[in-house]
């Protein structure tokens, strides 16, 4: 593995609730290499989103530390861009303005307006949203909104891209086309990505490694699966790839035998 971009060291996370202290995560150790695509998968409530928020710096761990590019994460920042599950576009800004807001924040001090505009346009072009650049979020479909969300994140040229179930709210066909889109963008940018998902196929299709988490409370990393299928991957060819089938089987086995949800 190349030198780690993100290091999660012995991290634990507890929340104070009305009924006492609730331990969400414990003993998480994970190193993510530069250019690596890592998926976090597990049953709902296993704290995978919590782990992503810790890397994003949106919440801070109660024990251990998170290091990104050699520096401790003390809060959120544009070098760790987040694609939110519900896209989180600002409804009063057009698609272009949403992306431009991010671009301006990251590059505004160094570059001229013309250049900033080009950056925002290029990001939208990359996800094939240039035709709807000047539409408002409520005028486009859910899949298109998520494309803009991804464009906004990529336009910031982050060191790490964090995605919280980015395609979870989309129908299967839209999800597939956005996954393909993401494969294309990844091939172009070589970004480091951490993605939370509950979709086994998605995890295998996109990831270099799949981190499987045990059930909460006090969830931790159960197993880590290496997906050694060469990139770029094609979903049609993968369907009969023995390696793909065995990766998929390994995750399913983990989720539905070893971590079978009680009473669920």
């Amino acid at each position: 593995m190349s030198k780690p971009m993100v290091k999660v060291e012995n991290v634990g996370m507890a929340f104070d609730t009305k009924s006492g202290r609730f331990t969400a995560l414990r003993d998480i150790d994970l190193a993510i290499g530069e250019g690596e695509f890592v998926s976090l998968i597990g049953h709902s409530g296993c704290g995978k989103s919590t782990l992503l928020n810790l890397i994003a710096g949106l919440t801070l761990p109660t024990s251990g530390n998170v290091i990104c590019a050699g520096r401790e994460v003390a809060g959120p920042g544009p070098e760790r861009a987040v694609v939110f599950q519900n896209h989180s576009l600002l409804p009063w800004l057009t698609c272009f303005e949403n992306v431009y807001l991010a671009v301006e924040r990251v590059f505004g001090t160094r570059e001229r307006k013309v250049k900033l505009k080009l950056r925002a346009e290029a990001a939208l072009e990359m996800v094939h949203m240039d035709h709807a650049m000047h539409k408002y979020p409520h005028e486009i479909s859910g899949g298109m909104k998520q494309r803009v969300g991804i464009a906004r994140a990529f336009a910031m040229e982050p060191k790490v891209l964090l995605m919280d179930e980015p395609f979870g709210a989309l129908d299967a066909l839209t999800r597939a086309s956005l996954q393909d889109e993401l494969i294309g963008v990844m091939a172009k940018t070589g970004a480091t990505v951490v993605m939370v998902t509950h979709d086994v196929d998605e995890a295998v299709l996109l990831s270099d490694r799949v981190v499987m988490m045990t059930n909460g409370p006090a969830a931790t990393i159960g197993e880590i699966l290496d997906v050694n299928i060469p990139k770029p991957r094609n979903r049609l060819e993968l369907a009969h790839d023995p390696q793909y089938v065995s990766c998929r089987a390994a995750i399913l086995e983990f989720l539905y035998q070893k971590q079978m949800k009680k009473a669920a």
């Binding site: 949106l58 920042g77 989180s88 600002l90 409520h138």
Partner: protein
């Protein structure tokens, strides 16, 4: 209107839904057989039009009930007027209204001016009082919404003062300003400020966490957070506050002017009572209602513009 557009769009949707299917079939057949004759001719899509009968029906459904309502009002009014001494009926009032609105902008000294001037000076008082209330109330709402300490500090004060009728503040206004006109404006200020503070504060407290997370991830400056996220997110709430304020202000101004005198629709009502011109009072009631309705509708229209596709 909704019924009309419903039928029209249903009919229009039919041929639209057909078209992609034929295209898909065309693609499928040409792929499998690759024969030129496999090209399916696109089905001509006839243009549907809602037949005249249902459309007229829909318009009638929309127009008739309000007409019945107005008719009922006029009927009850006419009967009451017949049975009551000195209470003008609809026709008598209409005749008086025609006379009044023939020359709404005359001036015969300070206490005898056209109804147009009376309405305008009432609106002016409302505008000034409300404007000052907005200048004070909206920033205060922002502060209360943003800082929990201020919220806890001012909440009991607001809860105590808000239920007080603004007219109770009128003597204080007269005492401080020594003049009737600013005292009336002062009551408008008092009654307008509460809805604006409370709604703005609520809007600030209800800015979705998602938007704030975007701001945090982008690490936006406080200025950008206010201009790009807080202000637009709070704007719909602010507009609700403004609409409620104007509504209350328009209620209160009539009462305030009855007490302070001068020029204004409230004073005019009282003056006409003293002159025993009851038909003018009835006209004033309609005029006050119509102006209030127009203010409300105008603000609803503005609010719709800034709802960001929510409704």
């Amino acid at each position: 209107m909704s019924a009309v557009s419903m039928t029209a769009s249903n009919l229009a949707a039919e041929p639209l839904a057909v078209e992609p299917r034929t295209h898909a079939q065309a693609a499928a057949t040409s792929e499998t057989s690759a024969a030129p004759q496999a090209k399916v001719k696109p089905v001509p899509t006839p243009r549907y039009r809602a037949p005249l009968g249902p459309r007229v029906n829909a318009v009638l459904k929309k127009v008739l009930p309000p007409l019945f309502g107005i008719g009922l009002l006029l009927g009850v009014w006419a009967i009451v007027a017949m049975k009551t001494q000195g209470f003008p009926g609809p026709l008598q009032t209409w005749a008086a209204a025609v006379e009044i609105f023939a020359d709404p902008f005359y001036r015969n000294g300070p206490n005898d001016q056209g109804i147009g001037w009376n309405i305008l000076s009432s609106l002016q008082r409302v505008g000034i009082g409300f404007g000052i209330a907005a200048l004070v109330g909206i920033p205060m709402g922002f502060l209360i919404g943003r800082f929990t300490f201020l919220n806890s500090m001012l909440d009991p004060l607001i809860s105590l003062l808000r239920p007080v009728s603004p007219l109770a503040w009128l003597p204080i206004g007269l005492l401080v300003f020594k003049k009737a006109d600013p005292a009336a404006t002062w009551t408008i200020f008092i009654c307008s400020i509460w809805p604006m503070i409370l709604n703005t504060a609520q809007g600030v407290q209800r800015v979705p966490q998602d938007y704030m997370n975007v701001a945090r991830v982008l690490n936006l400056s406080e200025f950008k957070i206010i201009t790009k996220i807080l202000f637009p997110a709070v704007l719909p709430y602010m507009l609700t506050g403004i609409r409620l304020s104007i509504g209350t202000a328009w209620l209160v101004i009539v009462a305030a002017e009855m007490l302070t005198g001068g020029v204004g629709i409230g004073f005019w009502v009282w003056d006409e009572w003293n002159n025993l011109k009851v038909e003018h009072i009835v006209i004033a009631i309609f005029v006050i209602g119509i102006v209030g309705l127009m203010l409300e509708q105008a603000l609803l229209l503005i609010a719709k513009r800034f709802s960001y596709g929510n409704n």
